[in-house]
């Protein structure tokens, strides 16, 4: 037994390592996308992979997202496990047709004979000062598409663990990487990566009793901070990190809400038609008589993602979360 020094790593580093380890473990794993090779990706998440595994395993493709994903479909048909990088959320839209009409349906279309083990990595969300089309939260589109898994890590350990699981999955996974957490750090040992819960399992990141904050990806740190701040107001908030929107872990979420009786769903994506509606509706269907107040939502406004100088007004922050908690009809309780 060795004691290992646990140094802080960034989420980006953990993601890189996940691909590296997956490629080393399985020659079928191929990374592809725009600038993923020589440059190592615009966020450097694929840094070093082309050098280590060669350009045939980590490939700079022509600039065409439908072509990239479409080619990945064919590669998967022949037994490879493509890991596709979309450079930014909004630049995944040209590949929408391939994703919806083929990637999500090929297994079903062929009665399971032609599964497509494709991981589509999409850096998503805002808060990084990006100009137009660089800060979209597109998870609602993917959630509404049966046949896709939709996974999003919020911690360094999950970044590694979930990406390994996604690549190993025989189903297509849309793997949403919160851009503004790429440089978030945590103690994490690349050579002995922490085991994480499987895709499909939500995790209570902070136990609490007064109300449940339900969140994922970029909004987890916001909720953790809000929960800390809420102590001053006398609220002991539980924070649930969904980790995957599909499959959705009703069990963990509902267990928490039944315990606390109150819930707020927090995400960056626009509110109207966004993931929060589904989540709130599911909870209400399942926990109606446990609810002291309606499940509230704190989300981005219903507008195209704002220009960088205005984004802070759009993004759900600690205050907006606390305001929502305050509206959970506490008086009614007494």
């Amino acid at each position: 037994m060795t004691t290992v020094a646990v140094k802080p790593a960034t989420m980006a580093q953990a993601l890189t390592r996940a691909m590296r380890d997956a490629m080393a473990a399985d020659p079928a794993v191929h990374v592809m996308g725009e600038d993923v090779g020589t440059l190592g990706g615009v966020f450097r998440v694929t840094d070093g992979l082309a050098a280590e595994f060669g350009e045939d395993r980590c490939t700079d493709t022509p600039l065409a997202e439908a072509g990239i994903l479409g080619a990945a479909v064919g590669m998967a048909m022949y037994g490879l496990r493509p890991v596709v990088e979309m450079q930014f959320d909004a630049f995944a839209y040209p590949a929408f047709e391939q994703l919806i009409s083929h990637v999500s349906r090929m297994r079903n279309r062929t009665r399971g004979r032609m599964p497509l083990p494709i991981t589509v990595r999409v850096p998503y969300g805002g808060g990084i000062g990006g100009v137009e089309h660089h800060s979209d939260s597109s998870e609602a589109y993917y959630m509404a598409t049966p046949g896709l898994h939709v996974v999003t890590p919020a911690t360094v350990a999950d970044a590694y663990g979930l990406l390994r699981q996604a690549i190993a999955s025989d189903d297509p996974v849309v793997f949403l990487e919160p851009k503004r957490l790429y440089w978030s750090k945590d103690a994490w040992n690349a050579d002995h990566p922490t085991e994480v819960e499987p895709i499909g399992r939500a995790v209570v990141r902070r136990p609490g009793t007064s109300a449940t904050l339900i969140t994922y990806g970029p909004s987890l740190p916001v909720c953790m901070e809000a929960a800390e701040a809420a102590r001053a107001e006398g609220w002991d908030l539980e924070v649930v990190d969904l980790r995957s929107l599909v499959p959705f872990d009703d069990e963990t979420v509902c267990a928490s809400v039944r315990r606390t009786g109150r819930a707020v769903v927090v995400h960056e994506s626009t509110g109207f038609g966004g993931p929060g509606g589904e989540i709130a509706a599911r909870i209400t269907e399942r926990c109606f008589h446990h609810l002291e107040a309606p499940v509230l939502r704190v989300a981005g406004f219903d507008l195209p993602y704002p220009p960088p100088m205005l984004e802070r007004h759009h993004l759900p922050g600690v205050d907006r979360v606390l305001d929502a908690v305050a509206r959970l009809q506490w008086e009614a309780e007494n």
Binding site: P62, G70, A71, V73, P82, P94, F248, D250
Partner: protein
């Protein structure tokens, strides 16, 4: 040194990065579609190949008429006939080795069947009991693709993957003239050329995309001319001449297999029937155009050549026709049986493991079906 002094030293030179990557000349298609049947070179065609092509074309035509008849009897939801295009369909299948892959578009049922897929399984999609009826791996045939041109990048990816794995497998992808307008066509051809993937793209230019004639689809000298823009050879062929199509495709396949990269083949043909049984072609085209093409019938072209060379007598023609009839009879009989339907299948293949919510929904439907059953059994009528 001032700029003026520099001038003497300046030698105009091409911008440093400039070097044509390929000589465009050999990439350009011929001005006229390549033909064999009815020309002097026809005599060189392999008798065995001619016979195989002929038998398959006859079968193919019979398949089309049988399937169309099945739509009238309500046994198929819809059928897009490829009558008039059988030469392309059959040649595509015959140009490939068993280990190669075919990527058909929704109209290419004949190519799929000619490749060996069960005729009934091929029609599953159009009968409507499931989306795809055959196992793509058995005969290396991708599912019939309904969204146009979207299967082309798949073919490129598969061919590329095979090459990466060291397998000398070629992919042949089929698309219509209309489909060439889609972005996916462009992206697929570009990827194929950049990767030098072993793919052959076969465009069946049958003159129409539903009601839209070629002139509203493209202003190109020919669709084959698109090839040069990707750096691959473009070949133009008479799509009603099975021998010519087969030769051009077989050449392209050979080239691809040898590492020579992709080829774009445009086969000029004609859709003799309406777009599907649900379409009314008289709304958008004149009978005399159809008649003109009837005189250039792919089956007749073959039959003439074979008979002229004494490779086919009336008895042999009869034998081929009987084989086709037998196929049609079998198809009719099997298609007249109701397919096995289990609504519970709906939930089984969405994911490797159904999610909890799918399990819930499965249970719900189970309960509903059980209640339906009870109702029916309890029903005194």
């Amino acid at each position: 040194m001032t700029v003026m002094e520099q001038r003497g030293a300046y030698r105009p030179s091409p911008p440093p990065a400039w070097q044509p990557r390929t000589d465009p000349a050999p990439l350009l298609p011929d001005a006229e579609p390549y033909r064999v049947l009815g020309t002097d070179t026809a005599a060189k065609a392999d008798p065995e190949l001619l016979r195989r092509l002929y038998a398959q074309v006859v079968r193919g035509r019979r398949y089309n008429t049988q399937a169309t008849a099945l739509t009238k009897q309500g046994r198929l939801a819809v059928y897009p006939s490829s009558t008039g295009q059988e030469a392309c369909e059959v040649a595509a299948a015959l140009a490939l080795e068993e280990r190669d892959w075919l990527f058909p578009s929704y109209r290419d049922t004949l190519a799929v069947v000619a490749r060996g897929v069960d005729p009934v399984e091929t029609l599953t999609l159009l009968r409507g009991d499931w989306h795809n009826g055959y196992d793509p791996h058995t005969h290396h045939v991708a599912p019939l693709s309904t969204p146009l041109a979207t299967q082309l990048p798949h073919a490129v990816g598969l061919a590329h993957a095979a090459r990466l794995k060291g397998d000398d497998v070629v992919a042949l992808a089929m698309v219509g003239d209309g489909g060439t307008s889609e972005g996916d066509f462009h992206e697929a051809l570009n990827f194929a050329a950049v990767w030098q993937a072993p793919v052959v793209f076969l465009v069946q230019n049958n003159g129409f995309a539903i009601s839209v004639p070629l002139a509203k689809q493209t202003a190109a000298p020919s669709l084959a001319h698109k090839a040069v823009g990707y750096g691959m050879p473009g070949r133009l062929v008479d799509g009603n001449d099975a021998v010519a199509v087969h030769e051009v495709l077989a050449d392209a396949v050979r080239r691809a297999r040898a590492g020579g990269g992709p080829t774009l083949v445009e086969a000029v043909t004609y859709r003799m029937e309406a777009h599907t049984n649900a379409d009314d072609a008289t709304r958008y085209r004149e009978d005399d155009e159809v008649e003109a093409w009837r005189r250039h019938d792919p089956l007749q072209l073959l039959e003439r050549e074979l008979t002229a060379r004494g490779l086919l007598d009336e008895a042999a023609i009869d034998a081929v026709r009987q084989d086709a009839e037998a196929m049609a009879a079998d198809l009719r009989e099997r298609m007249n049986q109701d397919p096995r339907l289990d609504p519970m299948d709906l939930f089984d293949h969405v994911y490797a493991e159904p999610t909890a919510q799918l399990r819930e929904q499965r249970a719900l439907l189970g309960t509903e079906l059980a209640a339906e059953q009870d109702d029916q059994e309890g029903d005194p009528r």
